[in-house]
Amino acid sequence: MTLTSDAKFIIGVLVVTIIVIGGGAYITSKKTTPTTSKTVPESLMQNLVREDSPTIGKKDAKVTVVEFGDFQCPACGTLHPVLKEVKKKYADASVRFVFRQFPLPQHENALLAAKASLAAQKQEKFWEYHDALFEHQTNLKADDFITYAKSIGLDVEKFTQDLKASTVADAVQRDRADGNALGVRSTPTLFINDIQYTGKYSVADLSAVIEAELAK
């Protein structure tokens, strides 16, 4: 097969392109700090979990998984079933799960959703409401919040009152401030003890970090 000068030129450019991409990927991967080394400094540990933060598991658990989340963020919606599975897996272990509010301004109803979940927490049904919101993530209009409250058996009158309470709004602001202090820039941001998790959203990957922390 004789190569024409055009073919030689194109193949040459293709090879150079691949070398440039490969080199670029190699250099950037070398410059990147290993993900496991990103840890929360001791001085900021109190910003991870507050006394009234919605929690599953024992307070003195060996491992604490904290999610800074936004009910309207698609990535949080993807993480939701994975975390649900992880919660089930470690239900009997010394692992605690905490949800912190980090509604992003670009999500129209995220702030209201955050407040609604905290209003549900006042009736001790945060996690049921949290699941309902994530499972209906594409339907989060004002009326929907009442529908989901009814569906999990909340006292709707109390729920709507709590939703307007300044304590709920303040709790959301405090969570946001804590997130900002911890360097949360996007949602979901997960912390497993003092490690900021940047791996994949899979039960296996999350379990690996949890197991390592349990083994410490």
């Binding site: 392109t17 691949i18 993807t78």
Partner: protein, 137 residues
């Protein structure tokens, strides 16, 4: 040379090249629109057999470019089968990944969609050149 496929190959290399570098640097992908890119990047489907998905894209578009560069009346007979396999495999993988985006992740990564469209264009180009001639495939 098949100019159309050369163009598809370079556009595809730009997309998969960008994704490969972003994956390697472990930084969030900038989505053309929406927020599905991060969902796809952090999902378990972002790698297969320990190799990140964009690297398969690089191999596909590189191979496509080589075939396109060598394509001529003389080489058509020899290259038609490899081109059929390559464009067919590319299209099948794109359909599979798009289905995962639609039904599993419920999120669309604009880069992945752009790449899927390129695999469709590549397959149509193969279809056109093969239907014009007696292929014996």
């Amino acid at each position: 040379m098949h100019k159309g496929l050369v163009i598809v190959s370079f556009l595809g290399l730009l997309i998969s090249g960008y994704l490969t570098i972003t994956y390697a640097s472990n930084t969030p992908i900038a989505c053309i629109s929406g927020e599905g890119c991060l969902v796809a990047q952090l999902s378990p489907y972002s790698s297969f057999m320990g190799i990140q998905t964009p690297i398969y894209g690089l191999i596909y578009y590189f191979a496509l470019g080589i075939i396109a560069a060598l394509w001529s009346e003389d080489t058509r007979q020899k290259l038609q089968l490899p081109l059929a396999i390559l464009t067919g495999a590319g299209l099948s993988v794109s359909i599979l990944l798009s289905s995962i985006e639609a039904f599993v992740l419920h999120a669309w990564c604009s880069w992945c969609v752009a790449s899927a469209l390129l695999t469709i264009v590549a397959f149509i180009m193969f279809w056109k050149v093969s239907s014009k001639h007696d292929t014996h495939i």
